[in-house]
């Protein structure tokens, strides 16, 4: 079943069109990789799906579980199950990670009409999840991402993904700023979250990440469109031949 349907999406940023009619369908349980050179519109796509301000959708549609995503506020989208793992997670000084996690999780639950977690239940859940991701309890007491290494920041994103249990995870350049060990830990965390009811969209420049998170479908983006789609072997092909061949196709 289609979880996410992007239809002929056109997006502008300050009068400049970045996406020129992008179409993409992601089914439940699938992992899609979106590859493409700088400026091809990969991050714009992820931001528009999540609802970041500053983008103007001039045409097209985004359906999530059959509902019009563009009609929803970004926090509503989050409560419905859209999760964006940021390329550069921000720091929030003075707000303990634990407080942040609980505030966010309860806000989502409240929006869905579910009961808020009690403190003991919440702590139990966080401990389980953080243990499986090798996240020390001490890190949860620190301010959100304050003084975290690149690897810790990405693990914190994966922790939130595991905690909030979204049905769509968009990973925006998860490999940027990570050494190979940190990448492996983060990727293991993501792989553990693959499930039949959940889809993932992995945005990356490099094929390297896809050795760890193996996609079902690979899309190539160029100049604001998807120009080619294929199986995981397409990524290897790109690694060998580069993006130049698609520049003209777009």
């Amino acid at each position: 079943m289609a979880l996410l349907e992007v239809k002929d999406l056109k997006v502008r940023v300050e009068e400049r069109e970045i996406l020129h009619g992008l179409t993409l369908t992601v089914n439940e349980g699938e992992v899609h990789a979106i590859m493409g050179p700088n400026g091809s519109g990969k991050s714009t796509l992820s931001h528009v799906i999540a609802g970041k301000p500053g983008y103007e959708v001039t045409d097209g549609q985004i359906l999530f579980k059959g509902e019009d995503l563009l009609e929803m506020d970004p926090n509503e989208r989050a409560a419905k199950g859209v999760f964006l793992a940021f390329q550069y997670p921000v720091e929030i000084p003075g707000v303990a990670t634990m407080t942040f996690l609980r505030t966010a999780l309860n806000a989502q639950r409240k929006a869905r009409g579910e009961s808020e977690y009690s403190t003991p239940d919440f702590l139990k859940k966080v401990r389980e999840v953080s243990k499986s991701l090798n996240i020390p309890q001490d890190m949860l007491k620190r301010g959100v991402n304050v003084g975290f290494s690149g690897g810790e920041k990405k693990r914190n994103e994966v922790l939130q993904m595991a905690l909030f249990e979204p049905s769509l995870c968009i990973l925006d350049e998860m490999d940027s700023g990570l050494d190979i060990d940190a990448l492996r830990i983060a990727a293991d965390g993501v792989n553990a979250l693959r499930s039949p009811g959940r889809a993932m969209v992995v945005i990356t420049h490099y094929q390297r990440l896809l050795n760890y998170i193996v996609p079902d479908v690979v899309h190539v983006m160029s100049k604001g469109r998807v120009v080619k789609s294929g199986g995981k072997e397409l990524a290897l092909e790109l690694e060998a031949s580069g993006y130049a061949q698609f520049e003209d196709a777009a």
């Binding site: 999540a50 970004p74 989050a78 921000v90 929030i92 003075g94 505030t103």
Partner: protein
């Protein structure tokens, strides 16, 4: 409804306009005519049955005030005040009587609910009184309970304080009952000649608190607890004097997180603290006065002089303030570190929204040896407000080994507000160590979006980020107020983004 709007509505409800434009016709024996003169000063003193020395003190101040001019150095802008066009004495006006919580505007009840103030206290703060011959027994019960309850609690508090030997009473009573203490200490920290507004206050002060904690006594309760159920009506020229004798300790909280209504536009309070050897005073303020309407009209001018004197060795004075209200704030709670090894602290959260103007900070005056001070200031500017930190740290020639640490952080919300930091640092001996850190940041769109992507609403996101920003200072507040203050901060900033 945003908090500012709530306050506007609230003030409308108490007919602030009616006061401003129609009050002149209401002259009765409980009110002095407009303007200030020796006659008015005498009238005030007489109304309060003051002894002659007090009257002379007021008159001296008044005569000196005539020779002074208003300070203009603060970064605030307001029309010139006509001091002859103000009232200087009005007996506390009885509150509008309501007989049940049902009669209170639901919007106001909502504010209380957001602050987490129990209904029983709301009834007290809103002055719910039982109507004579009230028919509805259920309604009546709420009111009666609330009133009875507070009286008995207050009485218990009084008994407990008395047992400990702590003197805690309105300063007008202390002038009559403890003249030796008042004469010894009044004006000893903020002299009558100190500054324009302090001198004015000395001439016409209305009332305030007097606290004396005897040697070696640890005041058995936070004096805040008392105020929570006994809303004071001290008038616009408040005068407070707190003395902690050798080895004693007292914690005092002024103000309330509940929306504060007041019909006087100019407030010029003076607070004096004296800490003797090994004594400690902790003074916390939560200020939530009417900030003016959405066009910047009206609102309280809050021109306050607060100063603590660490008179004894090893004494300590700590100021903590959460300032969210007033149209204009001009306030510098300071410490004179006279005793050797004495310590001064200043923790401040100053929030400005709408058209508010804040010029606030502290002075740490190091006179004794090995004195230390710490300043943590968090300014948050939103809307079209201007927020200035102004601070002085100075070490006297003899203040060897003086140490200060200052951190001033400013947070901007939106792009129409301003934050300014004006630190003055003077060291007159080479062994002083002064550290100053300052940051100015904006709540970035990226941070907000990150929070919102995780399910928070815009306002929840701002509240979370701001509370993280002020956390160091909130921790200094007495426990029961920290939670309310945190909510107050979120309420003050409602509608400030987007």
């Amino acid at each position: 409804m945003p908090a500012v709007q709530e306050t506007v509505e609230r003030v409308k409800r108490i007919d602030v306009d009616q006061y401003r434009y129609g009050f002149e016709t209401l002259i009765d024996s409980e009110k002095a005519p407009k303007g200030l003169s020796e006659e008015i000063v005498k009238f005030i003193s007489q109304k309060k049955n003051e002894p002659d020395w007090m009257l002379q003190w007021r008159l001296d101040a008044y005569r000196r005030w005539l020779t002074m001019t208003e300070p203009t150095w603060a970064r605030v802008d307001y029309p010139k005040i006509d001091f002859q066009d103000l009232y200087y004495y009005a007996a506390p006006k009885p509150k509008k009587t309501v007989t049940s919580l049902d009669e209170i505007d639901p919007e106001i009840l909502k504010t209380y609910e957001k602050l987490g103030i129990p209904l029983r206290e709301v009834a007290m703060l809103e002055g719910v009184e039982p109507k004579p011959g009230e028919q509805d027994p259920a309604r009546r019960k709420i009111a009666v309970d609330a009133v009875f309850d507070s009286v008995s609690v207050a009485t218990t508090f009084k008994a407990e304080l008395k047992k400990a030997g702590v003197i805690f009473m309105p300063i007008s009573e202390a002038i009559r009952e403890h003249p030796e203490l008042v004469q010894k200490y009044l004006g000893s920290v903020v002299p009558t000649s100190d500054n324009f507004y302090a001198t004015l206050n000395s001439a016409v002060f209305s009332d305030g608190s007097f606290v004396y904690v005897p040697p070696g006594v640890r005041c058995p309760m936070e004096l805040s607890t008392y105020f929570r159920i006994n809303e004071r009506n001290t008038g616009q020229f408040e005068r407070t004097l707190i003395i902690a004798d050798k080895g004693s300790y007292v914690s005092y909280l002024e103000g309330c997180t509940a929306p504060q209504r007041d019909e006087n536009q100019l407030h010029a309070a003076v607070v004096e603290l004296v800490a003797h050897d090994d004594a400690e005073i902790k003074y916390s303020t939560v200020q939530n006065w009417y900030p003016g309407n959405s066009e910047g009209k009206g609102g309280i001018y809050n021109f306050v002089t607060k100063r603590g004197d660490c008179r004894g060795n090893h004494s300590k004075i700590s100021w903590t303030q959460v300032e969210t209200g007033s149209a204009i704030t001009w306030k510098y709670p300071s410490c004179i570190l006279r005793g050797d090894n004495s310590r001064g602290e200043f923790y401040s959260i100053a929030i400005s929204n709408g058209f508010q103007q804040v010029d606030s900070g502290t002075k740490m005056i190091h006179l004794g040896k090995n004195t230390s001070s710490r300043i943590i200031s968090k300014g948050i500017a939103a809307g079209k407000s201007q927020n200035t930190y102004r601070g002085l740290v100075t070490a006297h020639r003899k203040a060897t080994g003086a140490r200060n640490f200052t951190a001033c952080d400013s947070l901007l919300i939106g792009d129409k507000c301003g934050a300014h930091t004006v630190p003055y640092i003077e060291a007159k001996n080479s062994s002083a160590t002064f550290e100053h850190e300052a940051t100015t940041s904006k709540i970035s769109e990226d941070v907000l979006f990150y929070c919102i992507q995780r399910g928070l609403s815009q306002e929840e996101a701002v509240g979370l980020v701001v509370n993280g920003f002020v956390k160091d200072v909130l921790q200094q507040l007495p426990m029961e107020f920290a939670v309310e203050a945190q909510k107050l901060i979120s309420i003050s900033l409602e509608g400030s983004v987007g």
